[in-house]
Every structure is written in structure tokens, then in C-alpha cells.
Symmetry: C2
Subunit: 330 residues, 2 copies
């Protein structure tokens, strides 16, 4: 019998080994990096023989536990039937988190399938009306703002939008390290009466809510870093997130085409400001933490998503203070 006090082990981050365009090779490499470089304990879920093969390449068999799941959810199959999903790495992983065997779930699978499995397997936190996706967007000044909802709930009510702001404030504290995050409502003009029905009603609720409400911001403010939390409905948020990616890519291609900067140096700039390197999208409002990494994620991005998931899981989203920033990994 040992005289040492027993420290209960930290539950691991559960990682979907099969998700994404490059699973399981890059997901397993990401799990190894998360454990070795960032000391985040990870459990892999997926097709056991294939996952073990990949672990063997890193000399990590036994170091990282594997839970078998029969099926992978194909990236294209976003509206996959519940029957197909039930035996998938997504469903098995979410179920592990739902019963407390993991503290967070990370997948590079399709956002729609992850949201659907997570709501079913983990469940909403008491009082939360709808989950919301949070994505950290880089700002020119070098920091980041969190965009929420980036695509989980396409038609929210004003009360849901006001709640997304609270969830976003929790993210800004836990992941971005902000102590008193300012919230901006994405709209089309800051004068009273501007906006659509949803933003006009949400603005009234936000002004009366406990968040530090900056008021309306517009499309050109999204990368300006003037607020910590950009709150919007999941339709507008998803359009804007993808528009940011497309416009930055296009603008850099314009510079390349003009022949005034080398493609290699431009690729470096693109990487530095890529939202992907900022930890993936976090699904907020559930009884466990869920992070959705981009489908094209490589090992470094997967590792980063595991770190963000661990940070979010380690905090009460309404009270925590941050320990990491959203600086890119590369």
C-alpha cells in the first residue's frame, strides 16, 4: 500500500481517429503530438487495427489508449441516418464523453454529423436552448476574436442569440485569456433601428444581459479585433466564416498574380492568419466539450484542437480564466 495520496487521473480528450480528409494517419500523429508536446492525455476512437498500425509508426502503442468503433462517417454523408451513425467513431466518442470517460471530444469529421452526434450522445447543458459553434478569427493586431455561432443553429430566436453571446464570453475567457470580454452583435449599421428583426430584438436582450455589450459591429469589423466576441446567428456566421477564408485566400492570390511578392512568403502569411491554426470550432453549450477541426486538418492542427478542447474542458465556461492564447501553432 502506497503512502502517497491518490490523485484521480485527468479524464482524457477523446479524439475521433477516423474523421477528416487525412484520418487516421494525421489524426493519430496529432494525438501523439498533443500528448508529447502539450501533455494532453488523449484516447483514440476508431478502427482498432488501422489505428494501432499508425500508433506503431510513432512508437506509441500502449502510450495512447484506443477504443474500437466499427464505422467511419464519410465526409460527404452529412445527413447520415441515425442507424449508420450509431456505431461510428463519432457516436462512440461522444458516448464516452457523455458518461464521463472523457472530458472532451475532438473530431475533424463533418460539422453537421458531429453536432448531431454530440447533442444526442453528450446532451445540452441545463438551461441552454441550442448549441453554438465558436471559431477564433485572427485579427490584424495579432490577437483573435471569437465568432459565435459559426454554423450550429441556422435559425435561432433572439433569446438564443443572446445566449450564444454568454457562451462566447466563456470561450474568450478560457481560450483567449480575456478577463472581461466585449461582445459585438454582427449587423448592418450601428444606428438604432438598423439591422433585421433578429438583430433588433437580440440587441435589446444583449443590452439587458450580464455581458459587456459593445453594440453592433459590421462586416468590415470582423477581422478588425475591436471586440472579443462577435455574436450572430449560425447562418450569417457560417457565411461570414467561409467568406473570410475565401477573401483572404483571394486577396493573397491577387498579390501573387501581380507578381509583387514571392508565393512562398505569401504562403507563410496565409498560414499565420489561417483560422484553422487557431484550434478549430468549439461546439458550446453541451455537458461536455466538443471541438470540430477543419476536415483538411493535418497533425499540428489536430494537436492544437486537442489543446483547445482540454483548456475549454478544464474551465467553467462562465467563470474560467485563460491559460493559453489562440496563437498559431506553426
Amino acid at each position: 500500500m502506497s503512502a502517497e495520496p491518490t490523485v484521480p487521473p485527468v479524464p482524457p480528450v477523446v479524439l475521433d481517429a477516423m474523421g477528416g480528409d487525412h484520418g487516421p494517419a494525421e489524426t493519430v500523429a496529432g494525438a501523439v503530438a498533443a500528448r508529447r508536446a502539450y501533455q494532453v492525455p488523449v484516447t483514440l476512437v476508431g478502427d482498432e487495427p488501422r489505428v494501432l498500425d499508425e500508433l506503431r509508426r510513432h512508437g506509441a502503442v500502449g502510450e495512447i489508449p484506443v477504443v474500437h468503433a466499427h464505422d467511419a462517417v464519410p465526409m460527404a454523408e452529412r445527413g447520415a441516418a441515425a442507424a449508420t451513425l450509431a456505431t461510428s467513431s463519432l457516436a462512440v466518442g461522444c458516448e464516452l464523453v457523455g458518461r464521463g470517460a472523457g472530458r472532451a471530444f475532438v473530431s475533424a469529421g463533418s460539422t453537421g454529423a458531429v453536432v448531431s452526434c454530440a447533442v444526442r450522445g453528450i446532451g445540452r447543458r441545463s438551461g441552454v436552448l441550442r448549441p453554438a459553434l465558436a471559431v477564433a478569427l485572427p485579427s490584424l493586431a495579432g490577437g483573435a476574436s471569437v465568432l459565435v455561432d459559426a454554423g450550429a443553429t441556422a435559425d435561432p430566436s433572439p433569446a438564443m442569440v443572446a445566449q450564444f453571446a454568454l457562451l462566447g464570453v466563456g470561450y474568450a475567457r478560457a481560450v483567449l485569456g480575456r478577463t472581461d470580454p466585449a461582445v459585438g452583435l454582427l449587423s448592418i449599421g450601428s444606428e438604432p433601428g438598423k439591422g433585421n428583426r433578429l438583430t433588433r430584438e437580440a440587441a435589446v436582450l444583449l443590452a439587458a444581459s450580464p455581458v459587456r455589450f459593445h453594440g453592433a459591429i459590421e462586416g468590415h469589423d470582423v477581422l478588425a479585433g475591436i471586440v472579443d466576441v462577435i455574436v450572430t446567428d449560425g447562418f450569417t456566421g457560417n457565411v461570414v466564416l467561409k467568406n473570410v477564408e475565401g477573401c483572404v485566400r483571394t486577396a493573397l492570390a491577387m498579390v501573387a498574380r501581380a507578381g509583387i511578392a514571392s508565393p512562398e512568403r505569401l504562403a507563410e502569411v496565409a498560414r499565420r492568419y489561417d483560422p484553422e491554426t487557431h484550434g478549430g470550432a468549439a461546439l458550446l453549450g453541451l455537458r461536455g466539450t466538443v471541438v470540430v477541426a477543419h476536415g483538411s486538418s493535418r497533425a499540428a492542427t489536430i494537436a492544437r484542437a486537442c489543446v483547445v478542447a482540454g483548456a475549454l474542458a478544464g474551465h467553467d465556461p462562465r467563470a474560467g480564466t485563460g491559460t493559453i492564447t489562440a496563437e498559431p501553432v506553426s
Copy 2:
């Protein structure tokens, strides 16, 4: 008595001399350029003594007619009371077009005030449910797509969105010179069932409408030039338009900050792809043509807006073929 047949004069484009951050100096210079460089007849509306002063600097007194209007609408006063607006250059100009004394109205004033004056003074075309703003966005390939609605109607019905597509097709023919424009519906995924309530219902109407419907496009496709017309509600459209401007500006600033291209060469690239240089926003669906130029417009952009207004006014928006392209003026 002359033996020559009498050709009725082409009604002029009516230009708000007082609108924008740089009126009347830059607006009057723009009117002179539109007339002299592009052979577009223009009538100026505004504070007569000040407008005549500016015309004198160009030796254009007598060459360009002036209609006096007592008030200018301040840029900030978007929700200006009807009483203030009635004697404004906006109201007087729209009234001229409404009674056929001008074929189009151009202003760099606030979009909200222009839309409100134009609907009152010019009126909707028969059968049109709501007006929509159309803005030509540059694409990397060198062409342009038209985004409609870019901010006139924040909460449209699905039927209105389907009608915006028809209006956008007219614009793509008249201004972009496309013979059979393809229409994409801005949404958050192209699979059936994706999107919000509005886009799901609008997609059904668009599939049954006489436009060439490409289906859904996403935020990263906005500058990709894969369709000629990008149709959306006025809230999402305005957020996206401003997001494009902000992201392109931010991406170029990232390159400048990285020190890998000279600021002068980057400014050239920015100018070449600036939506502003593509002719301003056209308010579609009225009984006369209205073009809203950006508030910061200088003479060249004002002249370009007059050319676009003339082109739109010279065509039946449902049948016309284009004579000009959306190439930048500078």
C-alpha cells in the same frame, strides 16, 4: 426651318451634387468627366451657387445644367425625417426622375436615405415586391459577379429573394454583358436541407423560376466568379459586402506588415479589385434607375456610377444586352 429630322434628346442622368464625403467638389468633377470622357449627359442637383462655383473651375457652366435644391442630407442622418428630406437634393433628384425629366439618379449619399427617397419619389415597378441593391464584386479571374440584395431589404420573403434573382439577371445582362447569367443562392452548404428557412424556401422557388439556377454557393465562393449573380437577403448581403471589403483590406495589410511587398504596389492591387471602382450599388426594381456610389467616392468613381446608371437606364432589365463591362476606371 431645318430639313434634318428632329431627334428627341436623351434624358440626362440626374446626379446628386451634395452627396458623399467629397460633394460638391468631387461630384461636380465626376459629372464633367462623365460628360466629356463617356458622353453621358448629366444634370446636377444641389445648392446652386456652390455647384456653379465648382462648374466654373472646370469651365463647364452652361455645359451641365443645374437644378437647385435647398438642403443636403447629412451622411450620418440615415433615419432623416421626411420633412428634412423633402427639400433635399435626394428628394428633388428622385422627383425629376419620377416625372421623366431624367432617366436615372446617382448619389453618393447614405444608402438608407437614397432608398427611402427613391421608393417615394420614383416608385416601384409594377409587380416588384421590394427593391434590391446590386453591387458588382470583382473576381480573381478578372470578371465580376453581381451581389443582390446588398442591403435594401433586410427581411425579405422567399418570393422577394426569387425576384431579386430576376433583377440581378437584368443587371448582369445590362452592366456585365452576360447573355445567359447563372444564379447562385448564398447559403451554408449545397446539400438539400442545408441553409436556413429563407434559403430552403427560396431555393424551391428559384428552381422553378425562369433564371438559370446554379444552386447554392457558400461564403468562400463569393469572389470565386463561379456564378454571374449571387442572390441573398439584404442583411446577409450587406454583411458579406462589407466583409469582403474588410478582409481584402486586412489581407493586404498583413502582406504589408510582413514586409514582403511595397505599400505602393499593394495599393495598386487594392484599387484594381476595389468594388467601389465597379460602379457603385444599383437600386433595382424601381420605375427609374438609381445608383448609389460609396460615400467616399472621388470624381472617377462618380463618373463610373453615371456610366453604369446610363447603361442600366438604356436597357429593359429583362432583355438588354450589355455594352460595357465592370472593369475599373483607374
